[in-house]
Symmetry: D3
């Protein structure tokens, strides 16, 4: 089984973080590969960036989807996810989606803890777009400067743990998600410092991609997730053009 | 007052429809200009196309926003709207948003009537993204082949009127929106055939753009719609790059 | 175009506030007139007062609607609005409704800031009655005595600005509405002290009344906002009686 | 224990129906009296009429509340209820409210069956105003002419029973409310023709008024249902003026 | 009229508390009896305990239902309520349900105040299962050790009053429910210390059981609350077996 | 990895169905065992039966949990799930929960298709208890007699396929779940007859149990899913008693 970890950000450092969390989670026989966005933003953190980054994710998938059994859009706001689910025949999972749905099986209400205030409302909209608002205990955000986004999980580990504990104590969270690609892999390190289950977003995404790939659901040929009907396009990258034009 | 009607589709014929509905609605002193997408899809009708078309809308705005007091994203699903609202200093209105909010002032529950079954669930998600689900009486869609999307409003006029009347009688709609850029201007022609107020999406969008432009709200410098902080980008069209990089 | 600003309160001082905010917002060619309630309460601030004040608003409209192209019920809780929308042929806009719907085009979530604790839950119910709860960031209320309701905006300007800033910082409001007729016109004065767009309720109401009047929607003759069927009445003021009895 | 059945309609015939259903439901020792609105509408059936009829209900209560231990606003849309609950010291129950809350104890989802299409959306808003939308299986309405509103329950009995049965079979209603003052007392007659519990609105209202009167809850002196602070009024009926002015 | 107060806990001390609150609330002619669970937990406070305690409540009802006109499941989370409503012909009321629905007639939003932090989320789920989330102002919980659960209302009276007052002041509660069987009867003692109506859960339950018993609704023979069709069972207590097997 | 398929029904035939669907879905290295309820109902289909069957599920887990890495409660309404999640240290997944969350990754809205009308509202409540109502396209139920519950999937295959297709065409379902233990394994057989992805409840449950077991989340020691504090019990089966009493 071949799974693609698609990082819609241009930072190789973040891809490395993601893969470091992905590999230990993969089952024997699962082959995990990664792609880093060839253009766009080092780190998507606003709606405008997600609009563009999501389109870039579709470009990347148009070029590479044929080589994989399932793909993961490995940014917490799931940019481009629903479009990808229409456009391609393989299952596509969002990293936020996988983390949240997995968290739903470990308690009633999950908290999201992340490393920058600016991410809060975008993540909130992501939760809403998945219809999971009633399962959300709250979003807690670090409100401090940090050095590099690639190393924020080491630099601010204690503060992030504190936020997680506040989410449990004050927001009645049953489960905590440490959210945002730069925090991939952190859950495992701080597992014993937080009294409820933690969900590692990347590990959850790998398991859910394996789940979907192994269930081999058929591609919808009806309903709102069937592949868009062929239509002419102009000015799109070749692979994307070919996918939309059925060529 | 200069208002931009931005058609994120590549069809000039649709732009013409939009402008034909826009101009009579404009107040004296309002100058309305249009732009047709230089690349993308002739007519956006799926999530995947909206992901890409919305990114193209941001490209177009990056090039032209400085010449306008307000802009309208003139496609019913509002592709790129929330990102545009972050990225630019002028007010940006979605055509669906303007139609729905205007409809809210004419009754309790509005119906959306459109010309293709495939648009239904995408429009449903648009309603949800604006938090207006409780105001929606229902979405009724033509389920028939038609010749050209540019002329569908003439070809299927009677069937669209029938759907609107069904929405009133069976779904208890207080107001009807004839939705989708190809239906711009239709409301005026069929006004007397439907027993509740109709909202013309383009006329509503012009009036709401005028409203926002004349109120001259300040650009947010805090909160989730402030302009994204400067960051390096790669591979973006020059104007968009400049906007993200503050150059 | 003739627009009526209907103050359902009996305070001429509040009408003056309202008109001072209304006039600068009106487009050239818009003629704005006001009416102050001839009976009732100096300032409506509870459900019981709104029940009666809303009925008085209907009496006032029954006498004067024929002279106007649109009317505004210029009290923040919109007393009598939905009944007026049934009973009269001209568009009728609520001041709260206009402010909230306009705010929706400037961000995702708006805050309401007002000058008395007792108004909070009534305003909350107003938000609910418009189906906009998911767009509300929160309601913040001054919890202090003040001299005269007509001058509260000068007396407490700094405290109101502080509340607006708290709404941005603590409730993640994207937009702020300074609510309650006595605060009409304040937005313009404090625009630079608050880092997100402010909506002036009266200015928004004028623009939305102009929008509706210029769109000239037909009066519903079906659905829940058609004019109530003729029926005999007893003991109503003559103009209202005539309106209900179709005389 | 003295309970007031306040009919905000001017039809004595409806009051008679209400009392015929009320008296058998009253416990030994409960004294039930009725009042018919001295002015207003023979039968409230729109938002506009409810705005005015609710104000008239407050006038009636202002004159008579001191003589009762609890009052019932005996029209299905509960006109004036929330204002009355603020303004008076005795418990006030709405007939729709009592029927719906009682129905909640007999199943998960209740249906509302009524005798005129025009009542549907007004009742829907009543359900929403009580926050009970998730408990509503649906509203079914007779869509036929009838002779007199006072006798509609006899004239259309079979059709109303059919609607109730459809609500059970097609809408999965666990309980049925036969709604609208003219249907008071019908439940008892058709009990055996419908396979789920029926709630008689007037009988439920009597029991709930007894419940509140016997629990003797204190009048709120804080919160949103405390009595409105004294303020001057003008042009109100004397008893209402006295109540608002604390005289 | 014979009403059963069924305590699904095994503590006789709690049954005594419940009866002390129940008896003064009963109308003349109402005969109130109690049963204490013969097995199970001294005090149900988690979902696991409610799963089992609810099954025990069904066992108790299977043995005793024939002797009563109505029954009350007298634990605040209403364990077993919906199953009991299916299985038995007499009306069955939950103590939480009765308290919440009664509170709904005394204000818009009720607060729940209880004596242990662990009860909060279970009660929250109870509110949700009744579809009353929009009526809930909040849940406030004592976060302190106490001696005996049977005497916690005396030991912590002042702290509980403080929580109730905080719910009014900070959460805008219109009504307060002192929740959990060990607090039965407390409302009456602290009535004057809290500025909004208090609902005593047991008194409310008695009145609602009387209401249902006196309305004599028919047992559903259709819909989701009809008695389950006969089927063989194994290993159930004899009375329960007989009830399921129609013997 | 050892996974327990716990059938809370007493029918070995259903267990066989479940295992036939479970085994092909299990990964290499996953050892799947089953348990059939030693007492209770042949097939749980009402709230009352689920109350008791869920308690029996807890008894079964109390005896066997120590031998497994994860458990599945293999009945579609998830009886006893939330209590089990509190009480035991291993992850416990509900079969309905697993099916629904997996479906969420394959589209926006899932339909539930089942074989008996009586299951509809119970399943609806199950969807609500998981907070997934906004993801539900609808529930469609066979409304016909059938021979044996164990063979209903063969007997009514074509009718079930028809219902699934209606859910796609009329309810706009993106994904279909064939629900109820007796339908386990059916999805695979009818895969090509339905134009959207099908989720097999048992296969999904196996994959989700593997996911949770391999992520090895810690058992909550805080929050609402921590193990209930030790307390004395009476009259419980020994293993359950020991689990509650920490012996």
């Amino acid at each position: 089984m071949r799974i693609l970890v698609l990082n819609p950000n241009t930072s190789q450092g973040i891809t490395d973080r993601l893969m470091a969390a992905a590999l230990p989670a993969a089952a024997p026989g699962t082959e995990v590969s990664s792609l880093t966005a060839p253009r766009g933003f080092p780190y998507i953190s606003t709606r405008a960036e997600a609009q563009i980054g999501g389109a870039i994710a579709l470009e990347m998938l148009a070029e590479h989807h044929a080589d994989y059994d399932a793909a993961i859009i490995a940014a917490f706001g799931d940019p481009g996810l629903f479009g990808a689910r229409e456009l391609f025949d393989i299952p596509v999972v969002g990293m936020a989606e996988a983390a949240m749905l997995t968290a739903c099986m470990l308690g009633k209400r999950f908290a999201i803890v992340t490393f920058a205030r600016s991410l809060g409302l975008w993540y909130q909209e992501c939760v809403e777009s998945h219809g999971l608002t009633s399962r959300l205990a709250g979003i807690r955000m670090l409100d401090e400067k940090f050095g590099s986004v690639s190393d924020v999980q080491e630099e601010k580990m204690q503060l992030l743990v504190d936020l997680a504990n506040q989410a449990v104590e004050q927001d009645d969270a049953d489960v905590v998600i440490l959210a945002g690609a730069p925090l991939a892999g952190l859950a495992d390190k701080v597992r014993d410092l937080i009294p409820v289950p933690l969900v590692d977003q990347m590990a959850a995404a790998i398991k859910q991609a394996e789940t979907l790939a192994s269930l081999r659901p058929r591609k919808a040929v009806a309903g709102s997730f069937r592949r868009p009907a062929a239509k002419p396009t102009s000015g799109l990258p070749p692979a994307l053009q070919a996918r939309f034009e059925y060529r």
